[in-house]
């Protein structure tokens, strides 16, 4: 097995709202290696999205340790977290979050205009086109989101996630808004990223899609456990 990209141990997260504090994650352990794909299954409210938020540095854990490679990023400050999100992570969401006033190519390129380094316009365009080409939708580069189907929009979103060549891809129910066939295409597009050494964590409700990942984990009442290994 290769060097772990991510290693989390004993990760906890409690929601402190108006009522009683509610434990969302209780000592989660997880290791992700380069080129590995992991599916996380679980019922609604089981903490899947919270886990992904912590992994993607959108939020901070209350306890435990988070290692990115050999770097401890459990308490990483926000500015550093933004730089890490830009350099190491790609995100795909259930809703595609494409900006309606931009073309598909501009939507992909927006991940390159984030204040983390500067690329000239020509290079941004070339990289966006390459990412769209990778998703097989380069011919839709000039189309704006309202003119694209759901599957096409999600593939634009995946291209946006991959355009910075991240080491880790986090997908939060990316097929939730798609029909089965289109969902399969999207999952295959995500899985293909692992062929290039990218680690993938896919949060899903769909057991068929989960079965296409190398490992399937179950999150139940804040506890993550193995559900089996797919060969």
């Amino acid at each position: 097995m290769t060097q772990p990209l991510i290693r989390i141990t004993g990760l906890t997260k409690t929601l402190k709202g108006q009522g009683e504090p509610r434990a969302i994650l209780e000592g989660v352990d997880l290791t992700l290696h380069s080129g590995e794909s992991i599916a996380v299954l679980g019922r609604s409210g089981s903490g899947k999205s919270t886990l992904l938020s912590l992994l993607g540095l959108f939020d901070r854990a209350d306890g435990g340790q988070y290692l990115l490679g050999e770097q401890d990023i459990t308490r990483v400050p926000e500015r550093k977290a933004a730089a890490l999100r830009s350099a190491q992570f790609g995100f795909v969401f259930q809703r595609f979050f494409l900006l309606k006033h931009l073309t598909a190519a501009q939507n992909v390129a927006m991940a390159l205009v984030n204040g983390q380094g500067w690329l000239p316009r020509r290079k941004r365009k070339a990289r966006a086109m390459a990412a769209l080409d990778q998703m097989g939708i380069a011919h839709l580069a000039k189309h704006k989101p309202p003119r694209l189907s759901g599957g096409e929009q999600q593939r634009v979103a995946i291209a946006r996630a991959l355009v910075r060549e991240p080491r880790i891809l986090l997908a939060d129910e990316p097929t939730g808004a798609l029909d089965t066939d289109t969902g399969n295409i999207v999952v295959e597009a995500l899985r293909s990223a692992t062929d290039r050494g990218c680690g993938l964590i896919l949060v899903t409700h769909d057991h068929d899609h989960a079965a296409k990942m190398q490992r399937v984990l179950h999150l139940d009442h804040g506890v993550l456990g193995p559900a089996g290994v797919h060969q």
Binding site: S53, A82, A83, R85, F93, F97, N114, W118, R160
Partner: protein, 437 residues
């Protein structure tokens, strides 16, 4: 330009293009505010320039030394001797003259404006009263019948006075000080004198009190000197062909003024010494009145007050414009929560998100300022064309650059004021918004 600044400008520009109508609506109130600032600044600058220009025409340019000599029969000779050969000092020796038919009492006795009546009776210019209030008329023309003759002030110049006073040419030419003096004195009339001679085209014989002979003047040009009474300018050497120098020192009619450049520091001392030498007990040197023209000191308080009132109103309107931007900015941030959360998810720092919103409001402010300045330029050009004839202040007036600077500053200030709160809100949007959507 740093990558972050470029990113902010690119994304800000995209935001403006995506919401053109909303941007336009937020620009309307701001436009009025910036236009108010531009108009107030332009009005103040134009009024001040007009005032300074008027002062430069009637008194002298800023920094000019103005020296009035004491009444003495040698005053004109002293003045001419002192300024001789100097380019930085000019003497102006004024006296009254009558131009018209011989042996007639002038229509505007005393050199009064041509439409102010006069003629006949005792004329104020020649009346002297003793301590008991007994007045006598010393008018040399008192016994003559009134007829077609014009009395005017003739100012004999030792050099070109336009280096100190901005006389505005109206027609013809100005006096030529480089050529040899001519026997028939060349006169440049002011507008009031030109009006008088336009109305009464009298045979031209010019007579002065104390002149050895009457001369025939030649009118070579007309200027605007800002003086409401008839006046003419003549080369002193051409005038002195016809009269002795001390005739220009007659205390009844004459006044001698010397204008000097700010750099001419020695000549007042020279004048003082010369007057001290002839004055004896009269202490004539103490009667020299020296004034340095200071435009800033002479700007009336009303203009300063008007400026503050305009500025106060403009700031109020500008604040309303900033409130418009703030309102639209907050609504826009509310609408774009997902976009900002997504941008944070792809690695955009909080500071840059705030920068994007500020860039949008600043660009909006700058666009508005550009539009308001453009409207100001067009409006001023139109006002100049339409009302320039009635309002000399507006004639040929150029848009003052100060108003442009004030407009840009107002647009930027409104952009910052209106954008700060939305920018802070945008920076605080949690990324998890996109996960829970």
């Amino acid at each position: 330009m740093s990558g972050r600044l470029r990113s902010a400008l690119i994304i800000g520009g995209q935001g403006i293009r995506a919401r053109k109508l909303r941007t336009f609506l937020s620009m309307i109130s701001l436009f009025l505010g910036v236009l108010g600032v531009v108009a107030a600044q332009a009005g103040q600058v134009i009024a001040q320039r007009a005032l300074v220009s008027e002062m430069e025409m009637t008194q002298g340019k800023d920094g000019t030394q103005q020296v009035y000599l004491p009444s003495h029969e040698s005053a004109s000779q002293i003045a001419m001797d002192t300024v001789k050969g100097r380019a930085d000092v000019v003497a102006l020796m004024g006296t009254n003259a009558i131009i018209g038919e011989p042996n007639l009492r002038p229509l505007n006795e005393g050199g009064m404006p041509i439409d102010s009546g006069g003629g006949g009776g005792m004329s104020g210019a020649y009346v002297t009263c003793d301590a008991y209030g007994n007045c006598t008329d010393q008018n040399p023309n008192a016994d003559m019948p009134t007829g077609q003759a014009i009395e005017l002030r003739v100012v004999a110049l030792t050099g070109d006075v336009r280096q100190f006073r901005s006389l505005r040419p109206q027609s013809g030419q100005w006096l030529d000080f480089d050529s040899a003096p001519q026997l028939a004195p060349r006169l440049v009339l002011n507008k009031e004198a030109a009006k008088a001679f336009g109305r009464y085209q009298v045979p031209a014989e010019m007579r002065f009190a104390g002149a050895t002979a009457h001369s025939t003047p030649r009118f070579v040009g007309v200027i605007d000197d800002g003086i409401g009474a008839p006046q003419a300018y003549v080369r002193s050497d051409e005038l002195l062909n016809w009269m002795p120098a001390d005739a220009l020192s007659d205390p009844r009619f004459s006044q001698i003024e010397v204008l000097a450049a700010p750099t001419a520091t020695d000549f007042v001392d020279i004048l003082r010494k010369k007057f001290a030498a002839i004055g004896g007990d009269q202490r004539l040197e103490d009667q020299l009145y020296v004034n340095v023209i200071n435009a800033a000191e002479q700007i009336p308080e009303q203009i300063a007050l008007m400026r503050w009132v305009f500025l106060g109103v403009s700031i109020l309107v500008l604040l309303i414009g900033a409130a418009g931007i703030l309102n639209v900015g907050l609504a826009t941030v509310g609408e774009r929560i997902e976009e900002f959360a997504l941008r944070r998810a792809v690695g955009t720092p909080r500071l840059l998100l705030a920068g994007i919103v500020l860039a949008e409001t600043l660009l909006t402010g700058l666009l508005t300022a550009g539009a308001a300045i453009g409207a100001g330029i067009v409006g001023l050009a139109a006002a100049s064309r339409l009302f320039g004839d009635q309002q000399p202040m507006l004639k040929g007036v150029a848009f003052p650059w100060e108003a442009g600077v004030a407009g840009v500053a107002a647009g930027l200030i409104a952009g910052v004021l209106g954008g700060l709160v939305p920018a802070a809100r945008a920076a605080r949007i949690p990324i998890a918004t996109v996960m829970r959507a």
